[in-house]
């Protein structure tokens, strides 16, 4: 429903505008400027136009090669993490009690991983996975697995994936739990009267009613996992070699390691654009699903 617009609210927002402009918009403009220059930050600028962008998108150049490889790693990481966290979150949400004392307890336990600062999460797992003093690393090695996330890319990947699942599945679980709670009891009663099996109840009632929540959960997890930096950096630093070098880590290497600001600026803008496009796709799907719902409710 369209609300009558009250212009006074804009004045309240003005201070925030000013702050955001100062701390975000101006730096953003600087980045855009840098992305079309060749510079090492020492105030000497050489115009490069769309040079960096062209390099970024062609796999044959060094810049392009690195970018596309790390983009690929990001996509695989997000895909694997979503594929594990969403079903896991649903299962945990289904297992949580809906009433009684257990509710508060399970909510608190689930919330704990979400409260830990991200670099602390990274540090926890970095130590946890060490073969000498880390519980996980030590036990695995004693059991005969040659586990070392510093030397083997597969182990590094496994470690950061498990870390992310440990860190973020709770979010998906909590969102799904909220979605499940909104289903009226009568539906479960009707299903039990109809003789529906547990699986049928899940597919016919719970899953459809959780659709919106799952979309939101998917959107949030995708965005966060695609932009991931702190946790893998703390654990592996991008290694071994560059096997866990995600775009964010690549950017840091370029900008702060090599001071190649022009290339870094261009890469960060392309990175941002990709995220925006994917979010827009999610958003469109969500609003269309919402639209359909509204029509269903009112129509026929």
């Amino acid at each position: 429903m369209e609300k009558i617009v009250n212009q006074k609210a804009w004045f309240l927002v003005l201070p925030v505008f000013a702050v955001v402009a100062f701390s975000a918009v101006i730096p953003l403009m600087t980045v855009v400027n840098y992305s079309v220059q060749d510079t090492f930050g020492n105030n000497k600028f050489f115009w490069n136009g769309v040079g960096w962008y062209q390099e970024l998108l062609s796999p044959s150049t060094e810049l392009g090669g690195r970018f596309l490889a790390s983009l690929w790693r990001n996509l695989i990481f997000s895909a694997v993490v979503l594929a594990i966290e969403i079903p896991l979150g649903i299962v945990v949400a289904l297992a949580m009690p809906r009433q009684g004392r257990g509710v508060a307890f399970s909510l608190v336990v689930l919330a704990l991983p979400l409260l830990i600062p991200w670099n602390v999460v990274g540090t926890i797992w970095q130590i946890f996975g060490r073969s000498d003093i880390g519980l996980l690393g030590y036990v695995l090695n004693r059991l005969g697995f040659d586990y070392n996330y510093v030397s083997y890319p597969i182990d590094a990947w496994a470690t950061i994936i498990v870390m992310d699942v440990w860190h973020w599945s709770s979010l998906v679980a909590l969102l799904c739990y909220a979605g499940l709670k909104s289903i009226p009891e009568a539906f479960y009663q009707a299903a039990s009267i109809d003789g529906a099996s547990r699986w049928a109840v899940f597919t016919a009632i719970q899953l459809p009613k959780m659709q919106r929540v799952l979309l939101i959960a998917g959107l949030l997890r995708f965005m966060d996992s695609f932009m991931i930096y702190t946790e893998p950096f703390v654990v592996t630093g991008g290694g071994p070699g560059n096997s866990t070098t995600f775009i964010s880590i690549e950017l840091v290497k370029l900008a702060l390691g090599q001071f190649d600001l022009g290339k870094a600026a261009a890469m960060s803008l392309v990175y941002e654009l990709i995220i925006l496009i994917i979010c827009w796709v999610f958003y469109t799907v969500m609003t269309n699903a919402g639209q359909e719902r509204r029509i269903e409710r009112e129509g026929a």
Partner: protein, 360 residues
């Protein structure tokens, strides 16, 4: 099809045992197979609790429920073979109408051909044939309620169908259709149907036997005519009939009653009224008429006339008493004072809210 017996059934949600804790006070009743029953009462009277005990959603604190003589206390809702229709339509959004109706049968593993046959029969009975292929979520509220109902009917061995205020979300115009459809179905299928509602029209038109409940107890059980003509409790008199029965304090002696100083003749004689009891006179507005004022009639002040199209009721006031009376068709009351005439055969006497049957 089942005969349902309630044996000393009582329930308290908080587990207490005192009278105040009991949401449903000890009740015993028998409902015959194939009967149409209504549980009628205001919110909080215990009717939904009773329904949920019968369907198995709630386990009673005390007492037993028997289906055809067998104690079903340990059985789940599914095992009791009950169908239930809720206040708002419960349908599976992702399925078509046909799939919704087929769902209970599919879960029991019936062969496809039989499922299709049964679904077709029930769809025909409910006028849903044209919609079988459509997505259930796209239909109107009354069609969705029919689907809910259909899912219950589609199982041939269903013991009883329970309705929990099923017409709440239906528009008045469509309520008529759905109500007569339910009654026709009952006649055609000979199923035990139990209907919970706070709407007396729904209860009285649907049921052969109405159970009126108030504050956890069954106040009266009877046919609609019995409840209308001979309410055993003032609550029944008030709750049934629109407007409800006029209940006023009065004095009764022998064949006469006195209201606000005016003497009324009674059809029966009341000599042995319990001492110290609160005596009240009850008469339905349908049996009180207004007429031009006359000295031998109880005079009252006309406050308002409610014109319902086919009937008119007058709201009158006698001293501090408020009464409702029927306006004879065609009469145009003018002025503020009217006389009230009472039909003596329809005057009931109540002591402590219970009806006293006088002597002839």
């Amino acid at each position: 099809m089942a005969r349902i017996d309630l044996v000393d059934l009582a329930h308290a949600y908080n587990g207490g045992t005192t009278d105040a804790d009991l949401v449903l006070k000890p009740t015993s009743m028998t409902w015959r197979q194939g009967g149409a029953y209504a549980l009628l009462g205001p919110s909080g009277c215990g009717k939904t609790t009773l329904l949920n005990i019968i369907s198995g959603i709630v386990r009673p604190s005390r007492g037993k429920v028997l289906f055809d003589g067998k104690d079903v206390g340990a059985l789940t809702t599914q095992q009791r073979n009950i169908a239930q229709v809720f206040q708002f339509p419960v349908i599976y959004d992702t399925m078509t109408v046909g799939e919704n109706l087929a769902f209970p049968l599919k879960n029991r593993g019936l062969p496809r051909a039989e499922i299709e046959k049964r679904v077709g029969e029930i769809a025909r009975l409910l006028d849903l044939e044209a919609y079988l292929g459509r997505r259930a979520s796209r239909l109107s509220a009354d069609a969705k309620q029919k689907i809910s109902l259909g899912r219950g009917l589609v199982r041939a061995d269903v013991a009883a169908i329970l309705f929990d205020e099923p017409l709440t979300v239906i528009d008045p115009a469509l309520k008529w259709e759905l109500r007569s459809k339910l009654k026709t179905l009952h006649r055609a299928l000979d199923l035990t149907m139990i209907y919970v509602t706070h709407d007396q029209t729904e209860a009285l038109t649907f049921a052969d036997t109405v159970v009126v409940m108030h504050e956890g107890s069954v106040v009266q059980t009877g046919t609609p005519e019995e409840l209308f003509a001979r309410p055993e409790h003032t609550f029944v008199g008030y709750f049934i009939g629109s407007p409800g029965m006029n209940i006023v304090a009065g004095e009764v002696r022998g064949r006469e009653a006195k209201i606000a100083g005016h003497t009324l003749a009674l059809k029966r004689s009341y000599d042995a009224l319990p001492a110290g009891a609160n005596i009240e006179i009850g008469i339905r507005p349908e049996f009180v008429s207004i007429a031009p004022p006359r000295p031998d009639l109880l005079s009252a002040r006309l406050e308002r006339i409610d014109d319902l199209g086919r009937t008119r009721f007058a709201r009158v006031r006698v001293d501090s008493l408020r009464l409702a009376a029927a306006v004879p068709p065609g009469s145009i009351p003018d002025g503020e004072e009217v006389g009230l005439t009472f039909d003596p055969a329809q005057i009931h006497v109540y002591a402590d809210s219970r009806r006293i049957e006088g002597a002839a």
